[in-house]
Symmetry: C2
Subunit: 258 residues, 2 copies
């Protein structure tokens, strides 16, 4: 949590300990109860909602910066963040269109046209998938608000963040076919129907019921347990769990799940 | 093609028209005659082979920069370049380990420790796939040599380019399952066996003969022609061609080809 004087310090001399041309923006997807949501923040300066983001510090790695920024902006830490694309159109300048007068009144800081925040900025896009019930939102000094939106009710976003979200969703959904997912989102034991519904929610459309489950089993990612969910005499679906060793190797090397 | 005085100018004041912390590196894969190759350049300053790369100019987009850099370094233009990952470890400094004394003798330029080229540099990785027989290599002033290497005979690369190549191959091979490929690499008419062999070469392993061809047909990406290759009385495989409209839409939106 940053104080207002820290914010002023950032605007005045943030370029000394941040790379002036490099930011990170994060599309954080939340799963809960068969719904896919997106985490958005509302900036003090810009009226529209946007993806949480910030500048990379000098000497900081990109993964490290992405973790720090989501932690600072939203209060969520230890996210497994994965790059999806880097955005560098010269026209995408972060603060280009913001209301300097309003900002001056808010903070007493004058922003000249050659201010370091007005330079050409390249942003590395990361996405993460998390279980919403494990998160605890907390907006920092840069953000007024911080909230989860159902993926089909996301409002128009600031800057080029609509395009970022499109690319993040496309990449996340391609990755579903090549990297295992679900270890911290499904209960430890689950039925094939439950993991099928989870994939349908993430991909956002109906799938052939056997596609992902069968492939997960044939690659050894799922292990059948000697235990059934007791939901009545005639249908007691078997429980499965992830094989941690195969799961971790697949995360690193990639697989084909379709 | 740059002259030596242009090179000197770049080292002395390149930061004026380039973003000092941002480079691009390109993994250019070449396909020819059932072989997958990689394009490497040998730098004037560093002994090892590396991926062609360079700094992004101020006001230049990332795609534009990637196109310009591959053109300048290798003589190949109009490549369809696609991002795979951005590299930003603080330890990956491009010129960190290079021989300043040797460089001074070569060029008469003195490089101080706070020189702009010695700062923390983030590099955006792009890959491209091209038909080797359509390319004409031409090294520029930064490179001594420029050559194609069979993918399993790539030497140890400079900097963090081994890791870049690993990530480029992983992403390129994941993309094979989600974006069509082959339009400028296969002849206009081809048999299912030919496109199957093409995919095997790109993926680098044996595949079930029907996997890609069947999926390409069922998604409408391939069209059956009323024409056969005449290779004998008893086996005359049918020709296919790409459906351009479906192909272009799939390139934009992504598909599932496995």
């Amino acid at each position: 949590m940053k104080s207002l004087s820290e914010l002023q310090h950032f605007f005045e001399s943030g370029y000394l300990d941040h790379l002036p041309n490099l930011t990170i923006d994060c599309a954080i997807f939340g799963y809960h109860d068969h719904q896919l949501k997106l985490l958005l923040v509302k900036n003090k300066i810009i009226a529209d909602w946007c993806l949480p983001g910030g500048f990379v510090k000098r000497g900081e790695g990109l993964d490290e910066a992405a973790g720090r920024i989501t932690d600072e902006r939203t209060g969520i830490n230890n996210l497994f963040l994965k790059q999806f694309k880097t955005f560098g159109d010269p026209g995408r300048n972060f603060y280009e269109k913001f209301d300097k007068q309003n900002f001056l009144e808010l903070t007493d800081i004058k922003i000249d046209d050659d201010h370091w925040l007005l330079q050409q900025t390249v942003s590395v896009g990361f996405y993460a998938i998390t279980d919403i019930s494990n998160t605890n939102l907390e907006a920092d000094i840069f953000s007024n608000e911080c909230a989860w939106f159902p993926i089909d009710e996301v409002p128009k976003l600031a800057f080029d963040h609509d395009e970022m979200l499109r690319e993040a969703l496309l990449t996340m959904r391609i990755h579903l076919y090549h990297f295992p997912i679900g270890k911290n989102m499904l209960p430890e034991k689950f039925t094939l129907k439950e993991i099928h519904l989870f994939y349908e929610t993430m991909i956002g459309k109906k799938l052939n019921a056997s596609n992902f489950p069968n492939k997960l089993i044939s690659l050894g990612l799922l292990e059948k347990l000697d235990e059934k969910r007791n939901i009545g005499a005639h249908r007691s679906p078997t429980f499965y769990k992830f094989n941690t060793e195969v799961y971790d190797r697949a995360l690193k090397e990639g697989v084909v799940l379709a």
